[in-house]
């Protein structure tokens, strides 16, 4: 029996206003959701004002869709509106179940307990040079990247969660819990240029910082973990309407776990202490934020600029999910091997 898919409508709006005209601008957009075995795009459109002089669509080296836009005339503002309709299937690892009540603070309705997985040291050994077979798709996400350092400080921080012979997924979940407990969400504390070592020292930041920190911990242990950029459905308080524009673009991580389902990536959201499932919509993944920044550009002129970003994620009405089961979308990675969906306690 197909489990129910959840259908969403997403609007991601970005507006730049420049103090003086920009004569030349080049923008790289990671705003088109990638297809995954648990997620399928039904409709997608990017509207840009002013109209670009030149455009190109391609897949980046991680197979994320990317749009390349050039504006070769003076302009004072740039508005980009990406609109997607897509559906997400539950995709927690098979065997995930509700945890016995622990009384700990979490954002999830019920704490979840992940299925058994190999001891983390065995995973590290399987990813080390000399081990066979070589899993290149994991090795890509095992080393330093622009925002993620590999340092003993991070390994030391992770050590409390990564106790000897602890199963990888359990240890990763404990690390997520620790970051969630000890770090404060504070949009004023950091910028995208804040080094991840300072985040560790100051224990404050936003979702990108927590994702980078968790990646630094995992990679410093010799594990493979990638950065996931996407959207989060913020559950509105009961009885209140959804706040338009309150939802923001989000980031979490995914760790590579051999043996479970023949080797797969498992998502963790350290900002919310959640195991991402149907409330998380995947946009793109890479080594860190630098690989998948939603809008990355170089402009000539413009002086100061103002930037406004608004993301609205709306679940579509239940009746529209009737035909929601993803067909094997053409071009979707892993489409033929759609993962079995667990009896998640949602």
């Amino acid at each position: 029996m197909q489990p129910p898919a959840i259908r969403y409508h997403i609007v991601h709006e970005t507006v730049y206003r420049y103090a003086s005209p920009v004569s030349l601008s080049r923008q790289l957009l990671h705003l088109t959701p990638r297809n995954c075995s648990w997620q399928r795009t039904l409709a997608h459109h990017i509207a840009v004002e002013p109209t670009a002089s030149w455009t190109d669509q391609r897949l980046d080296c991680y197979a994320n869709p990317v749009s390349d836009l050039a504006f070769e005339f003076p302009h004072r503002s740039l508005e980009v509106r990406a609109e997607s309709t897509l559906e997400v299937l539950p995709h927690l690892p098979a065997g995930t179940r509700a945890a016995p009540a622990s009384g700990r603070r979490t954002a999830a309705p019920l704490p979840l307990c992940l299925p058994d997985s190999p001891p983390w040291e065995d995973v590290r050994a399987a990813l080390a040079y000399g081990a066979r077979p070589v899993t290149l798709s994991a090795a890509e996400f095992q080393f330093e990247s622009p925002h993620v350092r590999v340092k003993h400080e991070f390994a030391a921080y992770a050590a409390a969660a990564f106790t000897p012979r602890r199963p990888l997924l359990a240890a990763t979940q404990a690390l997520m819990q620790r970051i969630f407990d000890e770090f404060e969400f504070d949009p004023e504390a950091t910028t995208i240029a804040t080094p991840v070592l300072s985040v560790l020292a100051d224990k404050r930041g936003v979702c990108q910082d927590f994702a980078h920190l968790m990646l630094a911990c995992l990679r410093s242990l010799g594990l493979a973990a990638r950065y996931v950029s996407g959207y989060l459905l913020t559950t509105p308080p009961p009885g209140q309407p959804r706040m338009i524009g309150a939802d923001a673009s989000h980031a979490w991580i995914s760790v590579y776990c051999p043996e479970v389902e023949g080797g797969r990536w498992v998502d963790f959201d350290p900002t919310n202490n959640l195991l991402p499932d149907t409330q998380h919509i995947t946009l793109a993944w890479g080594r860190d934020f630098a690989d998948v920044s939603p809008l990355r550009g170089v402009i000539l002129g413009g002086d100061e600029h103002e930037l406004a970003v608004a993301v609205t994620v709306t679940p579509l009405a239940a009746d529209s999910t009737a035909d929601a089961a993803p067909k094997d979308a053409p071009g979707a990675p892993g489409a033929n091997a759609r993962w079995p969906v667990g009896d998640a306690g949602t």
Binding site: T14, Y16, S23, L24, R26, L28, S53, W54, D56, D60, C61, D68, A70, E72, Y129, G130, R132, V134, L136, A139, E140, Q142, F143, E144, V150, K151, H152, I192, Q208, A248, S249, R287, F289, A290, D291, S293, P294, L295, R296, G297, V298, I299, L300, G301, G302, H305, L307, V309
Partner: protein, 849 residues
Amino acid sequence: MPRSLLASYPKQGDRFDEMLDQDGVVRPAWRAFLGHLDAASGEQMRHRCADLHRRIVENGVTYNVYADPKGADRPWELDLLPLILPAAEWQQLAAAVSQRARLLNAVLQDLYGPQELLRDGSLPPALVYGHNNFLWPCRGTRPPGDVFLHLYAADLARSPDGRWWVIADRTQAPSGAGYALENRTIVGRVFPDLFRDLQVQHLASFFRDLQESLAAFAPQSNEAPLIVLLTPGAYNETYFEHAYLARYLGFPLVEGQDLTVRGDCVYLKTLSGLRRVHAILRRLDDDFCDPLELRADSALGVAGLLQAVRAGKVLVANALGSGLLESAALPGFLPGACVKLLGEELAMPSVATWWCGEQAALEFTIAHLDRLVIKGSYPSQKFDPVFGNQLSSRRRAEMIARLRARPQAYVAQELVNFSRAPAWSKQHDRRLLARGVGLRVFVAATPSGHVVMPGGLTRVAAVSNARIISMQRGGSSKDTWVLAEGAVNPFSLLKHTVGKADLVRGGYNLSSRIVENLYWFGRYSERCDKTARLLRAGLSRLLDSGADASRALLAAFDLCQALQIVPAADAAAQPAEPSPPATAGAAHQVLLVQAICGKQWGDGLAGGIRRLLWVATQVRERFSLDNWHAINRLQHQLQCYAQAAGEAQRVELSDALAFLDQVLLAASSLAGFAMDNMTRDDGWRFLIIGRRLERLAFLAASLGQYLRLPAASAAANLEWLLELTDSIITYRSRYMARAQILPALDLIVFDDANPHSVAFQIDVLARDLDKLAHLLGGPADPALHSARQRLQAFDVGRFEADDAREADAARDLAALLADLALAAAALSDRLTMRYFSHVGGISHHTLAW
């Protein structure tokens, strides 16, 4: 016959000696050369050393040392004696290095393609995915002809048994080929007969091959391919080489801001618009090349370049991402990769290397730390090599802890034994020193295979038992003479046959930035000339005594103040009470001397000269060598004077005047070069316009101020005014009388045949600007024509009348000239806006989440 040089040459120790065999006998390839040295007198050798040094200084061969607090260019260190290699040995060496170039190209082809080397475990993923020069966005990009390494360099060292080893690979943007060429140019001229008699192989054909292969690999369109040399700028350590190679290869030297990507094509910004660029020989590091997709903080790159490469619209040499192979950890994996990719055994070994990411290698390294050197696996680590045998027991324990904590970041290497070669002592008349040497060999990829430069850059250690040779650490260099077996191919790049289709006229490929700098070069050189002239006019009045002289001094001093060449009266440190005339002269002297060389970098005449030198650096490849010599001489003179002035409490008047004479001589030779020695292209036109505009602005401002002086018509003052405007000879030949105001003003202001008059500047400038508007399109500028009319309408006869009317005339003419000075400044702003506005503006990076 002088004593043989061998008598004092240190005998063999534990190293290979390039000149002597193990029995102390001179090797055959060196016999003729040593014989020649033995026969030469101390006097002859001193002469050769001086010749060598002079050529280095005059050619401006420099190497920037980052650590130098002044960031100053350091003269290139070049030893008098070449390294000599016999033909047979060279052939083997060249074949091995050529194989290595093929191998490394194949490795890059694999790593940016199928990655079989990673899949089958031949290479650790850590050395690729963990390397900051693995450019992820370049995955799957295939350069034309699958050539990644258009120019490759290997650093070689020779072990005591005489075998050559590779100690490092330069795959990103190898430097040194230009220095090797420059070394050859200099040393070949110091020993012209020996060079010919020994049949030394020439280098030029190597550069032609490089030139032709870039053109061949570049994407084709319906025009001759435009190839540029991309430099990070004048502050790069090897900038001299960039400029030198650009000029030698005939490629425009450009910076990132000179290029722009439109759509997926790369263009050079020129005065006549955007010109398509087909190939870029880059000296910019991989990750700096495109701020859009690579390092966002790079101000040096070209946004969109990667997409142009992916689209096949531009060739970048070496291919973006080729810096991946510059890792100390890689050599250990090359023997296996060579068999796998080429089906051959690796011909020349690398220095033994253990990558600590492998458990066994880590344990070996820790056990044998005493005889190993530890290096970082990745260039981004900026980890200085650590010699195990130099560690205290505490440091040793720390190093081992670091190795265990992050083993994949470290590499252990066997200590390198450099061979020794004779170097000429700078301290003695006739003395050979033994110095450690390493050889950098260059390989170019051509459509028909790899070619090796028959020669190379020999690097010389500061001591004989060196473990590291580094130009950054005070090493020196040598020319490398590879002897030919048969006849030498006398080809020279400069005589390369040009067909009618290759003819190029004009300077269409000048970047707008270069043109703007030439414009300012014109303005600054004229400004230095005029400032020096005015200061000399003032200071030389101190040499004379008498009322006339002191009146003239005061007038010249007032003019200096009005033009803000010396500080205004209230700001100047004047003695509080009125001083007797003698000390007044002394105070003026102090202030005028200070105006030559102020305390701050940009102050005074010296500041003007420094600005001139700075813009000259920006356009260095546009100047002939002779022109550049004049600029270098000026820099040298300024350094000497500034140093002497800084040390002495009080500068002698004669020294100050001598320096001003030097500046004026330099300025007039620069003017001469500009008139006679530069191609009449748009760049030259702007340089000349800059000179004229500056002269007009100076004449108008200074004459306007002069006419306001109380004693403007005094003969003593008119004398120095005529000196200042370089018109004294003409005046004397015309009038043979004491200077009078009417004929003086006629000559300096109104005479349109005097190249130093106001009218002349306006006429010539108006003509040049009209021509420019005609060539580049756009309306002519009316400002000068109306200024000329006002000047023509002024009746110079008014100065013939009595004192009262003469004062009126002076006031009117002063106002007219002041307006003209303002008009000249406004004109300069308009020129900048019109022709250079697209140059300015640094791109910056934006990010949204």
